[in-house]
Amino acid sequence: MNKSNQNILGIYTYVDVLVDAIKKLRAEGFENLRVFSPVPNHEIEDALDTGKEPSKVKYFTFCGAILGALVGVCFTVLTSLDWPIVTSAKPIVSIPPYMIIIFECMILIGGLSTFLGLLINSRLRKDTPPELYDERFSDNKFGILVNCNSDDLEKIENILRDFGTDEVQVNGVLKEEAKVEEVKEEEAKVEEVKEEENNPDSTEVKND
């Protein structure tokens, strides 16, 4: 079992205490946090300081839009030159109607690449392993997941409990108060999953 890759999850009902817990954890130097919420919330964002590093989705959007416009230009101008047929004594390449096509292509490809950007940036399918997620997060619960060394487990648990968590899970197992040992018995099970999936994520979380 990798001692440096332990996950402890605190589940909250109230946002204000959650925010306080986040602040406390960060003050204690635990930057490797992940917060779950059923709704986007500015207080949480502020506590996490996510504004420091804005989303990269905009680059996808911008490049997609430029690419789309270029595709539109190619479509219209090149096909017209390839097949020069006169209608109504108009020039072969007549720009005004082409602007509409170019515009639509820009929107289409720009929009699709934004979606792609969203998928790539948030890596939705390869996120948190199911045992570290609680189904109530999409209902009315909030959660803090801390990735830490096994040494820090107790300290974090204490912080979470200090800020009035509903419950604490360590590596996906519910931890009653003062029953830290039982968790260690589950080590083998947890290891399999963590080895494969958690490692890159944990580094990613650090980056955040």
């Binding site: 917060v35 919420s37 986007p40 929107i107 940036n121 209902d139």
Partner: protein
């Protein structure tokens, strides 16, 4: 209502999830009965279409010189309906209008299904519908390219872009909600379905970060798109030289009309939905109030356009244009013209009265009338203009045939089929976004809005 208000913030969150989950329960006999009737109409519509393909377009009522009729009317009508969805989800999102939250999912669903319905008509109305793909520009063995000068090709691009973008937009908005369903739904197959559809959404803070940015950019794209699509549709007419079509007022007039009819359709759909699924806690009078006010605004724009068309026809001194508008008011199709004037110009102004805005029965009837009026608006523009053009020797009248009526009814059945499936399978209320306007659960200092 009071019951809901007495709940704590956290309980309200749960209540919302439960409400949405309840809508996804196994449907009762009532739903199945409606669905079966809907399928019958759809089957008849499909039969009509097959009959039309097999026999030839002549089974429709077209009569020289009116070569566009009910099918194109339906196309413009459905494209128009499709507009309010994206408007509510994108434009009102950018304007941070709070009343959009609880209805935007329904509106978006309506948009996607309306585009799916609208998209059928350009194919149905073709003389050789089996060759519809000839309108797509792709390198082909025939060695042909398409004519990018043609407004119909702009339509191909605009409508398909709109269909794609609004579907993706619809889907993106639903991801957190599908995740919520995934978390509570019972049954293995359903679990798998919603897991896949949720794309593994967990609601972590950085997912939300990218998500809100992406949603914002989408809204930024969708807004000009909404305006462009109906402008392009209006150019189908405005770019032609036909009197009654060839006018610069069409793009804004069509966009306003589209939003107008779309809003009316959203209200038409929301009122029974709210009643059946007991959504009074979420779809509130404030929602209807806000939409009613937008209807007044758009109705005024449309009505202004009706009147200014007359003014221009007179002021321009163009004989063809002048005759055309006189003909609209007093000619063979005058009844339809005055239905349109009454439903779109007069009726919506009842909504100035708060009592009417808050009487859902009357509101429902008003929106139905607006839907009818807007259908006839398109019919009038298309059919009346074509029936009397420049050359008096070629004038003629058009009367729809049973095949056209069958396909039109079928198209409504097609739309409602999607909608019926939608309310039973996907979250009809936007869970995540309604939570944004619900009070935030807080231990200290009570609950407050963010």
């Amino acid at each position: 209502m009071s019951n809901f208000d007495s709940l704590s913030a956290s309980e309200k969150y749960s209540h919302l999830n439960e409400t949405v989950m309840n809508m996804l329960n196994k449907p009762g006999w009532g739903w199945w009965a409606i669905f079966a009737v809907d399928m019958m109409f759809l089957a008849f519509g499909i039969y009509c279409f097959i009959y039309q393909i097999y026999t030839g377009l002549g089974v429709a009522g077209y009569s020289h010189p009116v070569l566009w009729g009910v099918y194109i009317t339906n196309f413009v009508f459905w494209v128009g309906i499709a507009h309010s969805g994206t408007l509510i989800s994108a434009v009102l999102f950018l304007f941070r209008a709070r009343f959009r939250m609880s209805i935007y999912r329904i509106a978006e669903a309506m948009t996607v299904f309306a585009v799916a319905t609208a998209g059928l008509f350009p194919i149905i109305h073709l003389g050789r519908p089996w060759n519809f793909y000839w309108l797509l520009p792709y390198p082909n063995q025939r060695g042909l390219w398409v004519n990018f000068d043609s407004p119909l090709l702009w339509d191909v691009f605009a409508v398909s872009t709109y269909a794609t973008i609004s579907s993706v937009f619809f889907f993106i908005g639903m991801i957190p909600d599908i995740a919520a369903i995934r978390d509570t739904v019972v049954g293995k197959a359903k679990k798998v379905f919603y897991s896949v559809a949720s794309l593994g959404w967990k609601g972590s803070s950085w997912e939300w970060g990218h998500y809100t940015r992406a949603y914002f950019y989408f809204a930024c794209f969708a807004t000009p798109l909404v305006i462009s699509v109906h402008s392009v549709v209006s150019w189908d007419f405005a770019m032609a030289n036909t009197p009654g079509w060839h006018t610069t007022i069409f793009p804004p007039y069509f966009v306003a009309g589209a939003i107008f009819s779309g809003l009316a359709m959203v209200i038409t759909l929301c009122i029974p939905l709210r009643y059946i699924f007991k959504l009074e806690d979420y779809i509130t009078m404030d929602n209807f109030d806000g939409m009613s006010k937008m209807i007044i605004l758009t109705s005024s724009i449309v009505f202004y356009a009706y009147l200014i068309e007359f003014f221009i026809a007179w002021y321009s001194g163009n004989k063809y244009e002048y005759d055309q508008f006189i003909y609209r008011a007093v000619g063979d199709y005058a009844l339809f013209y005055w239905i349109m004037m009454f439903c779109n110009g007069i009726v919506p102004h009842l909504l100035w009265f708060k009592k009417i805005r808050h009487n859902l029965m009357i509101l429902f009837i008003i929106t139905l009338l607006i839907n009818i009026g807007m259908w006839f608006e398109r019919f009038n523009i298309i059919v009346i203009s074509l029936s009397k053009e420049f050359e008096p020797g070629s004038w003629g009248l058009y009367k729809p045939s049973w095949v056209e009526i069958g396909i039109t009814v079928g198209s409504f059945a097609w739309f409602f089929m999607f909608f019926l499936i939608f309310v039973r399978t996907l979250p009809a209320l936007s869970i995540a976004e309604i939570k944004e306007i619900l009070p935030v659960p807080k231990k200290n200092g009570g609950s407050s809005h963010e």
